[in-house]
Symmetry: D2
Subunit: 235 residues, 4 copies
Amino acid sequence: NIVLVLAKKNGISSLEQFAIDICNHFMTTFCQVAYVKTYIQEVPWQRLHEDGVPHIHSFICVPDGIRFCEAEQCRNGPLIVFAGIKDLKLMKTTQSGFEGFYKNEHTTLPERHDRILCGELFCKWSYGECKDFDFDCIWKKIRECILEAFAGPPDCGEYSPSYQKTINCIQMLVLSRVSQVQVIEVVLNNTFFNVVDMKNLGLTNDKEVLVPVEAPYGSCACTLGRKKFFEAQGH
Amino acid sequence: NIVLVLAKKNGISSLEQFAIDICNHFMTTFCQVAYVKTYIQEVPWQRLHEDGVPHIHSFICVPDGIRFCEAEQCRNGPLIVFAGIKDLKLMKTTQSGFEGFYKNEHTTLPERHDRILCGELFCKWSYGECKDFDFDCIWKKIRECILEAFAGPPDCGEYSPSYQKTINCIQMLVLSRVSQVQVIEVVLNNTFFNVVDMKNLGLTNDKEVLVPVEAPYGSCACTLGRKKFFEAQGH
Amino acid sequence: NIVLVLAKKNGISSLEQFAIDICNHFMTTFCQVAYVKTYIQEVPWQRLHEDGVPHIHSFICVPDGIRFCEAEQCRNGPLIVFAGIKDLKLMKTTQSGFEGFYKNEHTTLPERHDRILCGELFCKWSYGECKDFDFDCIWKKIRECILEAFAGPPDCGEYSPSYQKTINCIQMLVLSRVSQVQVIEVVLNNTFFNVVDMKNLGLTNDKEVLVPVEAPYGSCACTLGRKKFFEAQGH
Amino acid sequence: NIVLVLAKKNGISSLEQFAIDICNHFMTTFCQVAYVKTYIQEVPWQRLHEDGVPHIHSFICVPDGIRFCEAEQCRNGPLIVFAGIKDLKLMKTTQSGFEGFYKNEHTTLPERHDRILCGELFCKWSYGECKDFDFDCIWKKIRECILEAFAGPPDCGEYSPSYQKTINCIQMLVLSRVSQVQVIEVVLNNTFFNVVDMKNLGLTNDKEVLVPVEAPYGSCACTLGRKKFFEAQGH
């Protein structure tokens, strides 16, 4: 009920503002509450367009990366706001390899210089002291950074020597372009694609026919932050 | 292996052509085969664009309606090709009601003249004798018909007295615009949205705060075809 | 509402009887109805037991094969009742091979004489003219037949030369033991398990360490019926 | 590869021991590793039985609560082992209410003294210093505690004034019976069931016909530990 009442009274100017409102409500109303955490996820409805004209009342669900946010607060502590994107599936059909990795007696994986990189990306970042941020605008900017760092320039692309490196590029670009972001976590699952060996079938296969290998898949999670943030945490 | 070999040898000019190729292969290679059915589904990868420029090797997965097709053939029978779209989620936030329906002693549902229509659409159609159809082009045209019939004109929309009527409009529009379609089946699930009663909370709620009711939901399936098709079937 | 009212008035003596009641209601109440199909699925709640004592009001959900049924009727046609089990996951860790299969130039799969058979079974059968069947009892008996034919005797098991043959054994056993079943359809998905090649790691691997290959997987669907049934259908 | 090699070399005496082995391997082999976390989940295969006789090679998948464990270690810190159960669906058809809760101007929920309690339970606990625990035996004992505290005695059951209280009972019983458990977290989602109002249909409904309300659902998460544990953490 409280969530519905707050939606009615305050409206939802942005996901993040609504998460903050809910946190504030519980902190200020109930003195016995020691900690509040709010999670909000958007259903990705987009307005329909016909020949470029936006439709007055019709929408289509386009789940190409789901927006979410969190707000959390301990009593006597700062309000921390996180935002993120999940279920964002991306693929590079070339200019991706896996090379220069640590090898020991357990390593059987060969180096690869032209493979497919295909994965599901999860990204979550925290804002510093929340002033009057335009959360919608920042979120869109970060989504663009992710796509740009993943793909490289549209005309020539960019070589990825590993998906770990790609994750790092995404994080570096976001931190350099979006000053409000303090810490950014990225998780990328990588589904492998096998080039089918067709020799026994009397055929060559120059990376024309590939089959996805759904399990086991690689997964890499990395968290990167600004120096001052980690210093403040005592690290 | 056969599917991989055919992909390598013939390429995939369209989903439907590839389904036809697989059918033909089994029918012509194995005389003991009495019936073949092929189902192919597309993973909805779309090329990334940066500022309108298509990216050379990067893609994003955009599941706003999944394209699929089927080809089936009985020995000595015609090859029948179906195509379709599934998991297409659409919503009208207004200009939708539910009225004029049959009522008896079991009816407790009131008539509604302004509700939300929100559902997941499945649509499958059959082509007649397959000549040299441009399957990709026809599929896109049918998808546009579905959206147009669901939404109405972008500037004013169109009132839907029931989602059953909306299904019928979709089918009529496809059959009138796309001569290659013989029969079209549409299934639409309708998730209800309750306008939250806020009187006990001391608030009015003029359709501002709604809650989806995920179960039970309404579902309507309807198949519509051209007269000559059903006559040929002896109906 | 009608389903709820029928549940209240008639109770649910068995899934199948309730499906029949719903069919009958629509056929006898609405003369414009030409065809009715009912599908009912059970949520697999089982009564909790403590040291063998059944609990008076507590249940646990045990989804080891979901029971479902269908009833369908065309006006002026007979009422046909189907029952089935789905999502039944079974595994044989040995005594399973794949041999004696048709080979041509596209065959690269070697014969195997000791592999894991692991799959998800779907089974659906139709009853003949429904008299006063004890649907619950028959369903349990068929479930036992499926497990017995899949596994073989508990002390020594039974060799399966292919999962296609195992499907056939299941169908033959059900038809021989349960006279009420007219036609039985079985679908079995087979997930492969690779014995990991550990030579490059300096280790032997005598089928101790295996990895499941989730896609692509094999799938076989087969429908088997009594002779008189197919004669009646004109086949 | 390392996981496969460890499975081959050490075998898997229990999930927890295998998780510990993996942690140890990374900590002792790579001096640059600062933190390791392992998660292992069991696929719930159970040996088939025919008339009480265990089958030599056949298994059935029975997902009535999935066992998992985690092991985590920071360099120079202790190895912490967690175990748990998830996706355990339980129901009480009576002797469950919701009463005595805090009320203010936002409260519209009435007190209930006989409702259905139906939810999905997640439970995770940590062990103290791991000596030679019989992890399998402890896990089974905790599962029994959960069921016993949820259900009460089989002959008369036990009244639950709220599912929050039921969670607390589960935690208290586990901590009192299983000395190795230091902290226990329980999350219980509660799906509501509406008693259908049949007055407008001219029928009474004495809790005979109910409909589940899948969203929104209640959810409660609670973590409970021994005093000495929290003192050691500085709380």
